[in-house]
């Protein structure tokens, strides 16, 4: 969210300089991504503060943390521009626009206002600047109003060209599997039955909450619009926007969640702004199936103080929450518990701990003193695997080996050069590139690759890695392994590698890790020198092998020296 600094100053009567706002925001509210003279960008990635996706929400927040006041008042529903014309129910002077919402769960609030008498032009300089500071490009006076209202109230809206809508009738329904639709950007989208569509009686005209349709967009000829203000199911919008890779300012807001109160405030603001352009409200429909209750959460002083770890006075707790527009009613003096009413725009507040965070951040996280841990130390648990791994590492280093860490994947070159059977490997369904597509089921190929790279600069390479390998067969498995590699000019590095490995393992874990040569041929022998390989056993069970890598393989990796490798399961 890019917060326009000029706009913010319109909405808050700041009692502190802007530098102080910039300093306080990350300490009290949310991290900032970028700060310029025109805007402050809040780091909203993954955040749950839907209210901070609106200038009004940001204004409330900044007023609270700077002891300032907002300059606006909450619009009262009885003053909405259409009231007295048709709402509250009773008088129907203003006709309804034909609207049919087929799925009220996915579209709990759906409003359409018909406005005519418009003329498409460019917006005023002030509006263009406001949008630019907020990171949005101006389009024309009609579209710009939808964006300005979205920025101020957090409520997206969409203007259809009424002339393009058959019978001026709109239907909200889920798509048919495989149905196609051309979005505003001119691309044809293939839809699933989980996507929500806006249609007229003969064709689709919008992908709900995600993008409008090419066939009904506002053009320079448009004089009459059907203005849509709606609340859609956040998960449905998220699924569609993610699948079609169509992230937008609007769909972000649908995903974070919206409230009826703001939606109707936004509708009111939109109509007023179009009236300001000379437009006339001709009809209005509000299909409201939204179940929205005022949230009440109990907060106790006891829990607040024990979770934060300091004593905060009840008056202070009350004061902090009131600044943030919460209402508090004391449940009983003795208990020090409050019934806290959550402001409608704080969709993120649901439980007591949420309120405690509000108290803690208003108090200032950075002022919480350090308190040493108390309580008993838990019982010992088995640490032998971790000890083994670390002791092995230090012992190997002592014996002259350098620890490397390589990826858990095979490079495409390794797969090709070793002719690995990729059907046996665990595959990533959404790899970043072909280099992260298949998971390693052995470590040594990665060591061989690193040896080749290092031999450009070194006469010998003496390395090891301890890490996990991943197997698909016979069943999904991951296990820790040690792999060692020795490449030099000796012509036969395997005995030296064996000697060092024996030495390293000898003193660890008593006799537990003592390796013995096994009689069986190791499984991977197509990569090995025809005579120089041996299985390694522990307690009569094969746990790995030592071998000289077949020079054919080494040569393929660009290595002309002889290479000895060991790999064992830990």
């Amino acid at each position: 969210m890019k917060v326009s600094i000029n706009w913010l100053k319109e909405l808050v009567d700041l009692k502190v300089p802007m530098e102080e706002v910039i300093r306080l925001l990350p300490l009290r509210t949310i991290g900032t991504k970028e700060v310029t003279k025109n805007f402050i960008e809040l780091d909203m990635k993954g955040y749950n503060r839907a209210d901070l996706l609106s200038m009004r929400g940001v204004a409330y927040e900044i007023a609270a943390i700077t002891n300032s006041k907002v300059t606006f008042e909450e619009p009262k529903p009885e003053n909405f521009t259409w009231v007295g014309k048709d709402l509250p129910a009773g008088r129907q002077d203003l006709p309804e626009t034909p609207v049919k919402v087929e799925n009220t769960t996915l579209s709990p609030l759906y409003c359409i206002a018909k406005i005519n008498g418009l003329k498409v032009e460019t917006s005023s300089k002030e509006r263009v600047k406001k949008l630019a500071d907020s990171g949005i490009r101006a389009v024309n006076n009609i579209a710009d109003i939808t964006n300005l209202v979205m920025l101020e109230y957090g409520q997206p809206s969409h203007a259809f060209d009424a002339a393009a809508i058959r019978d001026e009738t709109l239907i909200v329904r889920t798509a048919k599997e495989g149905e196609t639709f051309v979005t505003l950007d001119g691309k044809t989208r293939k839809l699933l039955s989980s996507d929500l569509l806006i249609t007229d009686p003969e064709k689709a005209v919008g992908l709900a909450g995600v993008m409008g349709g090419k066939n009904s967009e506002v053009t320079e000829k448009t004089t009459e619009i059907l203005l849509e203000v709606a609340i859609f199911d956040p998960k449905t919008i998220r699924k569609t926007a993610t699948r079609l890779a169509l992230p937008s300012e609007a769909s972000t807001r649908f995903q974070h969640g919206l409230s009826r109160i703001r939606a109707l405030q936004a509708l009111n603001a939109l109509i007023k702004m179009y009236q300001g352009l000379g437009g006339k409200l001709k009809s209005l429909s509000i299909v409201d199936n939204l179940e929205e209750k005022v949230k009440r959460v109990t907060l106790t002083q006891n829990k607040t103080n024990s979770l934060i770890g300091i004593e905060i006075k009840p008056e202070e707790i009350e004061n902090y929450l009131k600044k943030l527009k919460f209402n508090l009613a004391l449940q009983g003096q003795a208990l020090r518990a409050w019934d806290v009413t959550v402001p409608y725009f704080r969709l993120d507040i649901n439980i007591e701990e949420d309120l405690i965070e509000e108290v803690a951040r208003m108090y200032g996280y950075e002022k919480i003193p350090a308190k040493p841990l108390q309580g008993e130390i838990p019982e010992k648990i088995n640490q032998s695997l971790f000890d083994l791994i670390y002791n092995l590492k230090t012992k190997l280093v002592e014996l002259g080996f350098t620890e490397v860490q390589t990826y858990s994947f095979y490079s495409s070159k390794t797969i090709n050069d070793l002719r690995l059977t990729i059907n046996d490997l665990i595959k990533i369904v959404n790899p970043i590139s072909s280099e992260t597509e298949y998971m390693r089921d052995m470590i040594w190929p990665n060591l061989l690759e690193k040896a080749a790279e290092n031999l450009k600069y070194f006469k010998e390479v003496v390395i090891f890695e301890i890490g996990k390998v991943y197997q698909a067969k016979p069943k999904l498995n991951e296990e820790y392994r040690l792999s060692m590699l020795l490449a030099n000019d000796s012509g036969d590095p395997t005995p030296e590698l064996y000697r060092i490995a024996q030495e390293a393992l000898k003193h660890l874990q008593g006799e537990k890790m003592q390796l013995h040569l096994g009689g069986e041929k190791p499984r991977e022998n197509k990569y090995f020198h025809p005579t120089r390989f041996a299985a390694l056993e522990k307690d009569g069970e094969q746990v790995g092998w030592i071998a000289e890598i077949h020079p054919r393989i080494a040569n393929k990796f660009g290595i002309e020296k002889r290479v000895a490798v060991l790999e064992i399961k830990l």
């Binding site: 009290r28 949310i30 991290g31 990635k45 993954g46 955040y47 749950n48 998960k235 699924k239 972000t252 024990s306 979770l307 770890g309 701990e353 405690i356 965070e357 803690a360 951040r361 996280y365 350090a370 308190k371 841990l373 108390q374 838990p378 010992k380 648990i381 640490q383 971790f386 670390y390 590492k393 002592e398 014996l399 002259g400 080996f401 620890e403 490397v404 860490q405 990826y407 858990s408 046996d424 990533i428 369904v429 959404n430 992260t436 060591l447 790279e453 290092n454 600069y457 003496v462 999904l476 991951e478 036969d492 030296e496 000697r499 020198h529 005579t531 041996a534 030592i546 020079p551 054919r552």
Partner: protein, 371 residues
């Protein structure tokens, strides 16, 4: 194969000369014939290397040929060019092919090579090995937290959406999932229970397992590899080492969180490093906190490294969300807990002054031998 640049840009215009072009053409085919024979007769890789140098070395036959081209007219060059290129390619191919033949013949001799794994006399060479910088940093960290009674606990790298997300209060379709761009497994050759499998995006997949297995009081460390869908550059990696502690007991508070943060940063980065908490959202904690350390380069004055903030974000933490405690079989009315973790690469980059995150997994000994 493109023609050498000097050739096409030659300012000289040469008169056409039948004799000259003939001699160049002859020379090309002569070299080709002579060397193809030589190549076929070569018996060793060393011999092959010599032939290669004779042809493609600095003063090699093939390398020198284009020097005669400027004497030719444009038309002639158009005839000679392709001839030259095809001869060059033929020879290269022949060398590569013969090299492989020579190699394959030498591989046959491998059968006769002896295998004495434990020879009586073996000179064990003295060498200096090096521990990977991440191992060093993490071991230091382990020792620091071991003193407070924390013990290591392992969790799988390959995991389900259930352990990686759902039980951590990150339901499907929640915008918080944007925090972790995740790599998913192809279920095709996996015989697993239903539910999507993934590469864990954080060590927090250990939380519920540890709570269920070990109960309270709980002090564990989970350390290891995590994976993200992330394009690699000097500051981003798809494979990361994380360190995380889980601490559950009666009366655990944010004041303890401040203590742990300070205790760790001072031990690892120096006694003059302060820790500062600030609000941060993670769905599995409430309240959530970002842990800043006083910038170790400017000590709070503000510099390029800290973006002139004076502070660096070093860890993420918070009070374990009551839903997560419940999922782990712990009653949030009686117990509270802390989850606290950091990315080892970033910490090591700051501590050791490493500028490129790719170095950690590079296996480059020129880098690793510095540690």
């Amino acid at each position: 194969m493109t023609m050498p640049k000097a050739l096409s840009e030659s300012p000289f215009v040469n008169p056409p000369s039948c004799a000259r072009i003939k001699s160049v053409e002859q020379k090309i085919s002569q070299i080709q014939k002579e060397y193809l024979e030589k190549i076929q007769q070569a018996k060793s890789l060393k011999g092959m290397d010599e032939i290669f140098l004779e042809l493609f070395g600095k003063k090699g036959e093939i390398t020198s040929l284009p020097k005669e081209f400027p004497k030719l007219s444009e038309d002639e060059r158009r005839r000679v060019g392709p001839l030259f290129n095809s001869a060059k390619q033929d020879l290269e191919k022949a060398i590569e092919g013969r090299r492989n033949e020579v190699r394959e013949q030498s591989y046959k001799k491998l059968e006769t090579e002896k295998f004495v794994l434990q020879p009586e006399r073996l000179q064990a060479k003295k060498r200096q090995g090096h521990l990977h910088p991440l191992t060093q940093l993490l071991q230091e960290t382990i020792e620091v937290f071991s003193k407070l009674g924390f013990q290591q606990f392992d969790a799988p790298h390959i995991d389900s959406e259930y352990y990686n997300f759902e039980v951590l209060n990150i339901p499907e379709g929640h915008p918080a999932r944007d925090l972790w761009d995740t790599l998913y497994l192809d279920p095709h050759n996996l015989r697993t229970q239903p539910g999507r499998m993934l590469l864990r995006s954080h060590t927090s997949n250990s939380q519920i397992r540890a709570m269920k297995e070990l109960g309270t009081p709980l002090r564990i460390m989970n350390i290891g590899r995590c994976f993200r869908y992330e394009a690699v550059d000097a500051r981003h990696e798809h494979t990361l080492e994380q360190f995380e502690i889980i601490y559950v007991d009666k009366g655990v508070s944010m004041a303890n969180l401040q203590y742990l943060s300070e205790y760790f940063l001072k031990a690892i980065l120096g006694q003059d490093i302060k820790a500062r908490l600030r609000p941060k959202y993670y769905p599995f904690v409430e309240p959530g906190a970002g842990v800043d350390g006083l910038c170790l380069f400017c000590k709070g004055k503000g510099c390029k490294v800290c973006g002139f903030q004076g502070w660096l974000e070093l860890a993420g933490a918070g009070m374990i969300h009551p839903t997560v405690l419940k999922n782990g079989g712990i009653d949030p009315n009686d117990y509270s807990g802390i989850a606290w973790g950091f990315g080892a690469e970033r910490m090591a980059m700051l501590k050791y002054g490493i500028e490129d995150i790719r170095l950690f997994k590079s296996g480059d000994l020129r880098f690793l031998e510095k540690f």
